[in-house]
């Protein structure tokens, strides 16, 4: 029987009953309970099934290290799997469901795996599912997928909100036990700002349960007084329910605050991720008790001795009425004493040490508890809970001396400091032989930019397990942290802790020491992943001697608890199996987060409308209201086309092209980059950046230019306008604005720092509208204002002036081959200007057009598009753009690279037009076939399609592509297989399909 008892219960409020459900069954607990303590109080021992063998499992721990009691919590949009019952605070209406079973927790078909366990050894999956090859995809994988995975995937969108918070502090203290509190106090006394994080809802950690006195008062009083003192200090911030999740370079740390998990109706964000910068970090993260490896150590009712003590003292829950305690150290005697004084029968203390313990043993004996030294648990019997224990000699093979009926077992294999956060950023460990644990090596801390260690371990996390040692160590850690953060610690003495002196432990990695194969196969190391002593030994036998390899082969320590209970026992077992020493075997790598944190907390505010920034032009809302079918271009959304009622995307694009070619169209070109380059050396600078000559451009004129990287590859193109003697405005592609701005700044700041040039990114200062088509001039003249006649402004010229009531800069440039004016107005008037154009254009049949019509029209004219005709491996020479490469200039970025043999290789594929024989549209990206196959047995190719469209102007498919010796092969027909099974035939032609002489744009 697991029940609530009358004594103890320091964390519960018996006046406040709380209702919850477990697997649909209504249950009750008290305010202050965890889900685990409330379930145990209701005699619900089995809390889940194991992952591999589906064995019934109960809570083995009482805190963050719990491997077994994982639950699905909440319903619908608030459902979350894999939550530890031991760290879930109970609240009214909580709904919990156990995991990993079908059809039910009590009867689970999957438990048959347990019967087959000897056929499911370490590396089973690797060994079994290799042959036959085809079975993996069709048989093994679907079946394993069905059976695998912890918990259920939430169905809907998460109903909660999350956020980040940036925090800067001199000293960050992780852990709010007595060590953390004392370290915070001694650090804060120096005047340093201190942030203290405690993962649970309570301050003080284990000390109030473990007993002892501080400066003569109870540990509880010390905690209360210290918290009150810290709360009153203006330079201290205390946060509980906030776990120090990870430590990273440069004093960066993450805190994971659970704001409403315990009060889901409270409103506000559920979790908050603290992104902390600290000058020094104190890890006062305590220690975790190790289980003992004996057969049946996973039967519900077998628990860590400290956890059983926690359930008694904190929550007034006795996990059994007749308990056996197994230990290799003195600490477990505290559990026996607490049980006995609470009225629970302690049938035996099985102390693996032949000479037993010290003062605590005397105290237990005085209470009348039977203590058997040199004894061990041979095996625990029971299915869904402990039924009996076979007692044997620790130094034997497991031959039972007696069978004792009982209903719970408390075990203790010693304590391991929580070194995770110390280790996250590279802190190293040393093996402490006397205490049989790894602790931080003070000589090898994680170091910051100043060469000093920036993480300082304190208390039990530093290997100090007795109260006085903990307080002294923590006090010093706080002072060291303050000093490291640049403060002068106050002179003060650490408080004095007093506890009973403990006898040394005796390391026990297997119980009994020479347990036979049968027992080893039932002695669990990793509960969550069902890894046993036998699995690790088998791995060792098969040659897995590295702890990292063994981990992955056996899955030891790879579950959601990341081996908090299993790591040390596992590597000790490995060391024993390969005849090595524990420090030589070493640990696996500790990685953040300490326990799993929610994906929501990581995402923070970035969801829904603010998942990513969407850049909007001044006319964005108009497009939205007028049928825009969006295309993402960088973070901009540009209208791909404007859909009319019942119109397909294709039909809309064809309509927009036709209307622009026959009447007039408007394009929102505001997203094009506009970089202002000014200074006495601006012309010289642009001559280096562009392949052609820019310094000779006259004010009032525009010139198309190409930009290459220093490796010669084409990176951007656009029209440059010379504003005055010292000023140029460089247009870039939409996606290139920020990139090219950075490119310019990089060259100016690193290479030509002495050139007098300034650059400003004016992209968003202007709304820019392309007015395109035979009626473009008429439309602008209807608005009135500046003279836009051919005589006043020739092709490739620009003028400042006014159009209607707008200040405008007009560029007469064309990317479509039509008569075209690009008009820039201040962004704050962009929408008004666009609407004025739409109004005035009605009589000419004006229509807006999107990016696809823009693409079709430029392809009809044979203009290249960065990102279509270029892919980072293409040079201007490949594209027939030799006319835009100055032969006169001594240098420009890319010139030298373009002279390399590979760049001048005559067999580089070159740009041509492609015209299908039957008028069909070539598939995008299709390759042109060549004779024969390559070394890989793949068909040889001789070209590929870079752009392909249906041209409404020509009434047929048109394309451009890069083809081997293309320009010399006009008229040849190539074969392009599509992914649709068809092969397309296309003839090599000139890439200018429309108005080759440029008469249309020049009127």
């Amino acid at each position: 029987m697991s029940t609530r008892i009358a004594a103890h219960g320091r964390l519960i409020d018996r006046a406040k009953s709380v209702g919850f459900t477990f697997n649909g069954k209504p249950m009750r607990g008290y305010a202050g309970d965890t889900l685990a303590s409330a379930l145990l109080a209701g005699d619900q021992m089995v809390m889940g099934r194991s992952y591999k063998y589906h064995r019934p499992r109960g809570a083995v721990a009482s805190g963050a290290e719990e491997p077994n009691a994982l639950m699905g919590l909440g319903e619908g949009a608030k459902f979350e799997p894999n939550q530890r019952a031991t760290t879930t605070e109970l609240f009214e209406g909580l709904t919990a469901r156990s995991q990993n079973h079908w059809p039910g927790l009590e009867f689970d078909v999957g438990a048959v795996n347990g019967r087959l366990s000897r056929f499911l050894p370490a590396g089973f999956y690797y060994k079994m599912f290799i042959h036959p090859r085809a079975f993996w995809k069709h048989v093994y994988e679907p079946v394993i997928r069905q059976a695998a995975g912890l918990g259920r995937v939430p169905g809907g969108r998460d109903a909660d909100t999350y956020e980040h918070f940036h925090c800067f502090t001199d000293v960050l203290v992780i852990g709010g036990g007595v060590a953390g509190l004392q370290a915070a106090r001694s650090a804060a006394a120096s005047g340093a700002s201190v942030l203290v994080l405690e993962q649970s809802a309570h301050w003080g950690g284990r000390a109030p349960v473990d007993g002892g006195t501080v400066d003569g008062a109870g540990a509880d009083d010390f905690v209360r007084e210290t918290v009150a003192e810290l709360e009153a200090m203006p330079n201290v911030t205390l946060r509980n329910r906030c776990m120090g999740a990870g430590v990273y370079d440069h004093g960066y740390a993450l805190g994971y605050e659970r704001l409403t998990d315990h009060a889901p109706r409270a409103g506000g964000p559920r979790h908050r991720l603290w992104r902390i910068r600290a000058r020094r970090i104190v890890t006062a993260t305590g220690a975790i008790e190790r289980p003992l490896a004996f057969a049946g150590n996973d039967v519900p009712g077998v628990m860590l001795a400290s956890a059983m003590r926690d359930y008694l003292v904190n929550w007034a829950v006795a996990p059994g009425r007749r308990v056996i305690v197994a230990t290799n150290n003195d600490d477990a005697y505290r559990t026996a004493i607490t049980l006995k004084t609470s009225g629970i029968d302690v049938l035996r203390i099985l102390d693996a040490r032949s000479s037993g313990g010290g003062a605590l043993m005397q105290e237990a004996r005085a209470l009348g508890i039977r203590i058997d030294c040199g004894r061990a648990i041979g095996r625990v019997s029971g299915g869904k809970r402990v039924r009996s224990v076979a007692v044997c000699a620790q130094e034997g093979t497991g031959g039972a001396l007696e069978e004792v009926e009982c209903d719970a077992v408390a075990m203790s294999g010693g304590w391991s400091p929580v070194v995770h956060l110390w280790s996250h950023c590279g802190g190293k460990l040393i093996w402490d032989e006397a205490r049989a644990h790894f602790r931080p090596d003070p000589e090898r801390p994680p170091r910051g930019a100043d060469g000093e260690g920036f993480v300082i371990p304190a208390g039990a996390a530093n290997g100090e397990l007795a109260l006085n040692g903990i307080l002294g160590d923590a006090d010093e850690a706080g002072k060291t942290a303050a000093r490291g953060a640049g403060f002068k610690p106050a002179r003060s003495k650490a408080p004095r802790g007093e506890t009973v002196e403990e006898a040394p432990l005796q390391p026990v990695w297997l119980m009994p020491r020479h347990a036979d194969a049968h027992l080893r196969a039932k002695a669990w190391l990793d509960y969550q992943n069902d890894v046993k002593v036998s699995d690790v030994r088998l791995a060792a036998q098969e040659g897995y001697h590295s702890v990292e390899h063994t981990k992955r082969y056996t899955t030891l320590g790879m579950a959601t608890d990341q081996g908090k209970l299993s790591n040390i026992n596992g590597l000790a077992t490995l060391a024993d199996a390969i005849g090595s020493e524990i420090p030589q075997v070493g640990t696996t790598t500790f990685r953040p987060p300490y326990t799993p944190i929610s994906m929501g907390a990581i995402a923070g505010e970035a969801r829904g409308a603010i998942f990513q920034p969407v850049r909007r032009t001044p006319m964005h809302g108009w497009h939205e209201a007028n049928g825009a079918d969006w295309e993402p271009v960088g973070q901009w959304r540009r209208p791909y086309t404007y859909l009319r009622d019942g119109e397909s995307q294709h039909d809309a694009v064809m309509r927009e092209v036709r209307n622009t070619r026959q009447a007039v169209g408007l394009l929102d070109a505001s997203t094009l980059g506009k970089l202002l380059v000014k200074g006495p050396d601006a012309g010289r600078f642009l001559d280096m950046l562009y392949t052609n000559m820019m310094s000779t451009l006259k004010p009032g004129k525009c010139r198309y230019g190409l930009m290459c990287s220093e490796n010669g590859f084409l990176i951007d193109d656009g029209v440059v306008a010379r504003i005055d003697e010292h000023t140029f405005l460089c247009h870039t592609t939409t996606g290139g604005a920020e990139r090219i701005h950075a490119h310019m700044e990089e060259w100016l700041q690193t290479e030509w720092w002495d050139w007098q040039v300034h650059v400003a990114n004016l992209t968003e200062q202007f709304a820019q509208v392309a007015v395109v088509g035979p009626d473009a001039r008429k439309l602008l003249e209807r608005l009135g204002g500046m003279d836009l006649s051919a005589g006043a402004m020739a092709f490739m010229e620009w003028r400042d002036g006014r159009i209607a009531e707008f200040d405008a800069r007009v560029y007469r440039i064309s990317f479509s081959g039509e008569l075209s004016f690009e008009v820039a107005v201040p962004a704050s008037q962009g929408l008004a200007f666009w609407e004025a154009l739409m109004d005035a254009g009605r009589e000419f049949g004006v229509m807006p057009y999107g990016t696809e019509a823009l693409h079709v029209m430029r392809a009809e004219k044979g203009f290249i598009m960065i990102g279509d005709e270029t892919d980072g491996t293409v040079i201007p020479q490949d594209l027939g753009l030799g006319w835009a490469i100055s032969k006169k200039k001594e240098d420009y970025l890319g010139k030298r690279a373009q002279a390399r043999p590979h760049m001048t290789d005559p067999t580089r594929w070159k740009l041509v037009g492609l015209e299908t024989v039957d008028g069909a549209v070539l598939p995008d990206g299709a390759y042109a076939l060549a004779e024969g196959v390559n070394a890989n047995g793949q068909r040889n190719v001789q070209g590929r399609v870079t752009s392909t469209y249906m041209s409404p102007t020509l009434g047929r498919g048109i394309a451009m592509g890069l083809v081997l010796n293309g320009p010399d092969r006009m008229g040849e027909v190539l074969e392009f297989p599509g992914t649709d099974g068809k092969t397309y035939q296309a003839r090599i032609v000139d890439q200018v399909f429309y108005d080759k002489d440029g008469e249309k744009q020049n009127v």
């Binding site: 909100t161 956020e163 918070f165 908050r272 603010i610 901009w636 004016l762 200007f833």
Partner: protein, 198 residues
């Protein structure tokens, strides 16, 4: 002249803090050697404010002068006067190598005010916004979640924020989310003793 409009036309929100788009704000980018006499004169005359040190901004009435980088200042002035101010600056600069350009329309400006203003910003910007570290007079170019932003304090409880105009809606929605009721952090309030400014 057509009426110029700001990106969000003065939208506002009340939560932990008051969030508002400030409407059109005159802004001029000035790049040049900050040690040059003409550059200093152009900047101070245009803004009516004195030259700020690194990471600081000086406000003076409707004008302001913000340090953007070792060779860049941001001049704040009334929106309608931006164009003429640039012209005056160009005359002052004369032959000195410098770039003065009107960027008023390229930007959006927000104000976040109220007791929780620091916390709202600290959820989005990786900047130490504790009263001991950041106060009126300071100016920081940083990021606000995923966008570039510049922030400064107008007084102890109020921030000015500048970002690009195209992301004004994102910025406003971010600030609304960070100021949602029930999301107070309570850190800066917990340190009443901290000294203001630096």
């Amino acid at each position: 002249m057509s009426e110029p409009v700001s990106a969000l036309k003065g939208a506002s929100f009340d939560g932990l803090a008051h969030v508002e788009e400030c409407g059109l704000q005159g802004m001029i980018t000035l790049r040049g050697a900050l040690s040059a006499r003409a550059v200093q004169k152009a900047a101070t005359v245009a803004s009516g404010a004195s030259l700020p040190d690194a990471n600081r901004a000086n406000m003076a009435g409707e004008g302001g002068l913000c340090w953007m980088s070792p060779d860049e200042l941001l001049i704040l002035c009334p929106y309608p006067r931006a164009a003429e101010t640039v012209e005056t600056m160009r005359k002052t600069l004369g032959k000195t190598h410098a770039l003065a350009v009107n960027v008023s329309d390229a930007r959006a400006m927000f104000r976040v005010s109220g007791g929780a203003a620091r916390e709202v910003l600290a959820k989005l910007c990786p900047v130490d916004l504790s009263p001991a570290a950041f106060g009126p007079g300071q100016f920081r170019r940083t990021r606000m979640a995923q966008i570039a932003a510049a922030i400064w304090m107008e007084d102890d409880e109020s921030f000015g924020i500048v970002c690009f105009r195209s992301v004004a809606e994102y910025a406003f929605n971010l600030l609304k989310a960070a100021a949602q009721p029930g999301s107070a952090v309570g850190v800066f309030a917990a340190r009443p003793g901290a000294i203001s400014g630096d």
